[in-house]
């Protein structure tokens, strides 16, 4: 078996289906893997891959970025994943706050944040990401780390996209590592062809093949290509960790606004570690009116798969990875950044 055989089968199936097929890779790491392998140029003309809302940096709401930058500028030491450093908020990015003298640390794991906390007891960790990073935040909170949480649950966004119905989605390429945590079972609630897959070019090719196969046979199943990692029930221990510390709440997404039941809020029991409460006095003084001001940036529509980066009026014209206007240009898995680097 080789990649070329899979590609050949994809072309045969696509021809059989005939019509245009829109597949959404909801996970940003898939978007990047697709671009890195140059996959799009090898697919049949009627098979389209659209980028979904699975870049945690991209979907972080402007208010949350403005809040954490405000805390940093107010003298509170802040740590976050490197991905977030350069995302511009209304008061600049965390990286720019650092240039102005704020204590900002880019870290790779929450254990590193716990180390930094020994020297900077007031440290706040800006927690972001989906079910894959929420357990690490939960772990750290139980060890005493104070967190400003913006964690999100991923399935509600996938459901919301189907419900809004702005874009016809013929199939989902489901996230591999979120699925390692939540398992394959929860996807069964959605009636659309879905394949959970890994991040090697062959994984994605096989997933596309499996989706086309479902479409050709008029099925809408949840199939798991990533059997080497994803179990039906996911990782119960990681889920236990998440729900020991967090409870479901409404989530605030860039591009969507509020999606009910898509957020994770720190439980009453752990409220001492919730930066939103601990630094309420500082946050109450922040002027969030700017956060909601619309700009020319089309990140919102791009996240919902409605627009492609090249449709955005500021793409490459004022918005570049060096001077990003929106988060989709900052994150290396953001649709705009990927298009900027790998597009024609």
């Amino acid at each position: 078996m080789s990649e070329q055989e899979v590609l050949k089968d994809i072309h045969t199936l696509a021809k059989k289906i005939g019509r245009n097929v829109n597949l959404m890779e909801v996970c940003g790491t898939h978007t990047q893997a697709v671009a890195r392998a140059g996959l799009k140029s090898l697919l049949p003309k009627n098979v389209h891959l659209t980028t979904g809302p699975g870049c945690p940096v991209c979907v972080t709401a402007q208010e949350d970025i403005d809040a954490i930058v405000s805390l940093a500028l107010a003298g509170i030491p802040v740590a976050t994943y490197g991905d977030m450093m350069r995302v511009p908020g209304s008061f600049g990015s965390l990286d720019q706050a650092r240039e102005k003298g704020a204590q900002v640390f880019d870290i790779y794991s929450t254990e590193e944040a716990l180390e930094i906390q020994k020297e900077y007891p007031d440290l706040v960790f800006f927690g972001l990401g989906f079910e894959t990073t929420a357990p690490m935040s939960a772990f750290a909170i139980q060890k005493g780390l104070v967190i400003y949480p913006t964690h999100k649950l991923f399935l509600p966004a996938m459901k919301a996209l189907l419900e809004i119905g702005e874009l016809k989605i013929d199939g989902y390429i489901c996230p591999g590592h979120v699925s390692a945590i939540i398992g394959s079972k929860p996807y069964e609630e959605m009636r659309v062809p879905q394949v959970i897959t890994g991040f090697q070019p062959d994984d994605i090719l096989v997933a596309i093949y499996m989706l086309l196969k479902q479409l050709a046979e008029d099925r809408a199943d949840v199939e798991n290509e990533y059997v080497r990692l994803v179990k039906e029930g996911g990782n119960p221990e990681a889920l236990n960790q998440i729900f020991e510390v967090f409870e479901e709440s409404d989530g605030n997404w860039r591009g969507f606004g509020t999606i009910p039941g898509s957020g994770l809020k720190i439980k009453e029991k752990y409220k001492a570690f919730d930066a939103r409460l601990k630094y309420k006095d500082i946050l109450d003084r922040v002027d969030f009116s700017k956060s909601r001001k619309p700009t020319a940036c089309k990140c919102g529509e791009i996240i919902r798969g409605l627009k492609s980066p090249t449709d955005c009026p500021v793409f490459k014209k004022g918005c570049t990875p060096d001077k990003p206007i929106g988060p989709c240009m900052v994150s290396v898995e953001g649709a705009c950044n990927v298009e900027y680097r790998y597009g024609k």
Binding site: S41, L42, G82, D83, D322, Y342
Partner: protein, 337 residues
């Protein structure tokens, strides 16, 4: 808002922003005299035109370069700040086709810096001198108040002589691109130390003058992929040479450990720096000869791609698609997504 005019760390990252800053600086420094190649790794002064009578012909070009070095940690597996300060300048002269003659060494230290460490660095510098045959002949030291500088900064400058200058812009369509060994291992060593990884990989820093001397006559273009890694340097060479370069994913010059570190930290492998490797373009008829010689220095030397008519740098992926390789954008930040 942050003042647009302030210098950011990205300006020192070796990517696009560094290049932009250099353009501004070059723009402000208007006089070049009779110096040429001021945008390459070293500048060239043709002695035959003025100093030496035209007939001399041999070693008639003076090549001059300078570089500043800061590194964290100062001592790392396979080297230290002194070694890279020497190698950096020797290599910048060597990739231009010059035989390095001598080095100047300027050191700025923080008050309280360990004398033992300083002498350890000097011994390391001396070792490179002996190995490469390039002496340190002049220099300066300054000491700054504690906290005004982080431990130590070293600046070296060097002069060399060349018969034929190898320029960045010399790649011709049809050339093959050769790497003198596996790349990125200097960066991997520093990242491993920053993130507590244990690996056998050590910094690739070493002086390149002897190996380049052996193959220099066959090289159409040559550059050492230091800051900004293969990506920044090959893009620069392709742009200056006005050719398209296609690298082959199947023969990329990276060890499995280097791939692992880049994947673990989410850092672009093509942006990882080397301090003792070069990439060169040679015409296909000379490729085997060059490789045979280079393999005596480093068995990993190999062809990594080719040049053709057109523009840009592309990677031919294992699936057979072409995707662009871009100049890195800024400092390397690990990421989780």
């Amino acid at each position: 808002m942050v003042n647009d005019e302030s210098i950011e760390l990205d300006h020192g990252g070796g990517g696009y922003k560094s290049w932009e800053l250099l353009q501004d600086i070059r723009g402000a420094l208007k006089s070049r005299g009779k110096w040429q190649n001021c945008e390459d790794d070293a500048a060239v002064y043709d002695l035959s035109s003025s100093v030496i009578p035209a007939k001399a012909g041999i070693h008639s070009k003076l090549v001059f370069t300078s570089d500043a070095f800061i590194v964290e940690p100062i001592f790392f597996p396979g080297g230290d700040i002194g070694k890279i300060a020497m190698c950096g300048t020797i290599n910048d002269l060597s990739v231009m086709g010059a035989k390095p003659l001598g080095i100047s060494l300027s050191i700025v230290m923080e008050e309280g810096f360990s004398k033992t460490d300083l002498m350890k660095i000097m011994r390391s510098i001396n070792k490179v001198s002996e190995e490469s045959g390039v002496p340190v002949v002049t220099g300066d030291t300054k000491v700054m108040q504690k906290g005004k500088i982080d431990k130590i900064e070293i600046t070296t400058a060097g002069v060399g002589l060349a018969d034929r200058v190898i320029e960045n812009k010399g790649i011709k369509a049809g050339d093959v691109i050769i790497s003198s060994g596996d790349l990125g291992e200097h960066a991997v060593t520093l990242l491993a130390s920053r993130f507590n990884y244990k690996t056998k990989i050590i910094s690739d820093s070493k002086p390149l003058n002897k190996e380049i001397e052996k193959v220099g006559e066959y090289l159409n273009a040559c550059k050492d992929p230091t800051r900004g890694g293969l990506a920044a340097n090959i893009v620069e060479m392709a742009n200056k040479s006005r050719v398209k370069i296609v690298l082959d994913e199947k023969t990329l010059p990276y060890k499995k450990e280097t791939v692992a570190v880049s994947e673990l930290l989410g850092i672009d492998i093509f942006a990882l720096a080397s301090e003792g490797r070069f990439i060169a373009s040679v015409s296909p008829k000379n490729a085997d000869k060059v490789l045979e010689i280079l393999k005596k220095f480093n068995n990993e030397a190999k062809v990594i791609g080719h040049a053709e008519a057109g523009s840009g740098v592309y990677l031919k992926t294992k699936l057979g698609a072409l995707r662009p390789i871009e100049m890195p954008k800024g400092k390397l930040i690990p990421r989780i997504c």
